[in-house]
Symmetry: C2
Subunit: 234 residues, 2 copies
DNA sequence: CGAGACATTGATGTCTGTCAAGCTGTGTGG
DNA sequence: CCACACAGCTTGACAGACATCAATGTCTCG
């Protein structure tokens, strides 16, 4: 480990690393919108549940896109308190930095496959292709928008409002056939919402008791009344 | 008012609007780093204390830089709860959007003078000048970095840790001769830190009692022991 | 110098955290 | 295929940090 320099650091302990360039689906593919133009090398990689993808303050060598699975980006305080800044779901790009290093760590929540491209090659492409440069900016701006909404949630919303916001966000992002399968545990949800896992659990139970949602297993949720959920969300 | 369309909307009720193009100091001037290259028209404008500069979801027609004064950017919940996302101090650029509208409102905290350029002209310049495009991205990424740190504060830090973080941030950004003159009131600080003004006041009093800081008037603060303040900040 | 906005301080309340016990359901191995 | 084991979840009792409500103090500026 000590002999491994940061610059030549291998991608963290993958299950399987296929180093072949893969073809990118051009439809509604946000990373593809960039790579399509520049013809960059795109690699696929997989991480097991709870595996670290990169650490906080690590050099930002790659930009990632979730293919399947789910990823959490987070910061830690010295005593272990954790704030998850975002969940990344299939299609989402993460790990994009304009500076030299990652400002949040990233871990696979469940077994996850990602596409990745070298940051340096994107930087290079942005120097010649204005479309690429524009895309990098809008992706960062999109993350900023999410962070600004989340600051409002963390600073000013009640526990119930936070959970309602969370459910509506997840419903929007990963509902299929009116049901959502949450990839993350209650602790992850708590660390995302600035709550404890117990408070999250109590809020969900209360929503169930009110008939606003139904469970089929703790992580399979059906929203039965989005309007009432919206009303609970300030 | 009703006859005034949004697209032709005048800049909000300035004290004085000098529409002359002004020369920009090229040294350590972040807006200048852009405008220097593109030769854009830069205007100066002034706002009085508590005057709105733009509202949430208003079309983002201009990008601003504080010359003198201070600005708060914030979001509101329907019942009036407010989260201030950032304070903008002399030199800071604010109101930069990659989308069509402002996602936070902005108000002058005290009498404030800003420089401004049309967003559209920056967009245009970024299409031909790769340096401009790069700068827009890094400025947005810099805001994102701040927001990520602030999410950690809002989600996971105690009241005392938040106030310590705030003091160190303000010390870094506006201390002159070892003293800082806060432009904002206790309520603004509370709304930035996700606390009430009373909790902020109590924390500051406690820090004074411990000799970590001294006051000369409620908004004139001297940090007497930055190390101990750092220790209080998780 | 006076008035009003702003800040401090105190008393009390409450929401969420903490600690603890038990339950569920998922995956594994006999 | 069933049963066990364990991680994850729920629920309860209690505690505590911060909010709320209220009164007083102080600085600023007109």
């Amino acid at each position: 480990m000590l002999t491994q320099s940061l610059n030549t650091k291998a991608i963290n302990t993958p299950i399987s690393g296929s180093k072949v360039a893969v073809s990118i689906d051009p439809v509604a593919d946000r990373l593809g919108a960039i790579t399509g133009h520049a013809g960059l090398v795109v690699t696929e990689f997989s991480y097991r549940k709870d595996e670290e993808i990169y650490g906080e303050d690590e050099p930002a060598e790659y930009v990632y896109q979730v293919v399947t699975g789910a990823v959490r980006s987070y910061k830690l305080l010295s005593d272990g308190r954790r704030q998850i800044g975002a969940f990344h779901l299939p299609g989402d790009v993460f790990g994009l930095e304009s500076g030299a290093s990652h400002r949040l760590a990233a871990e696979a929540i469940i077994d996850t496959t990602v596409r990745l491209v070298k940051r340096a090659s994107l930087e290079k492409a942005s120097g010649t292709d204005v479309q690429v440069a524009r895309k990098l900016w809008t992706m960062t701006a999109s993350e900023l928008r999410h962070a600004e909404n989340h600051m409002l949630l963390l600073g000013r919303k009640t526990a119930m409002e936070r959970v309602a916001t969370f459910l509506l966000e997840m419903d929007r992002r990963l509902a299929v056939a009116g049901m959502m399968a949450l990839p993350m545990c209650r602790r992850d949800i708590g660390d995302y919402l600035g709550l404890t896992l117990e408070t999250v659990s109590r809020a969900l139970s209360q929503l169930q008791a009110q008939g606003i949602l139904g469970f089929s297993g703790a992580r399979q949720i059906v929203l039965r009344n989005r309007q009432r959920l919206h009303n609970l969300d300030a």
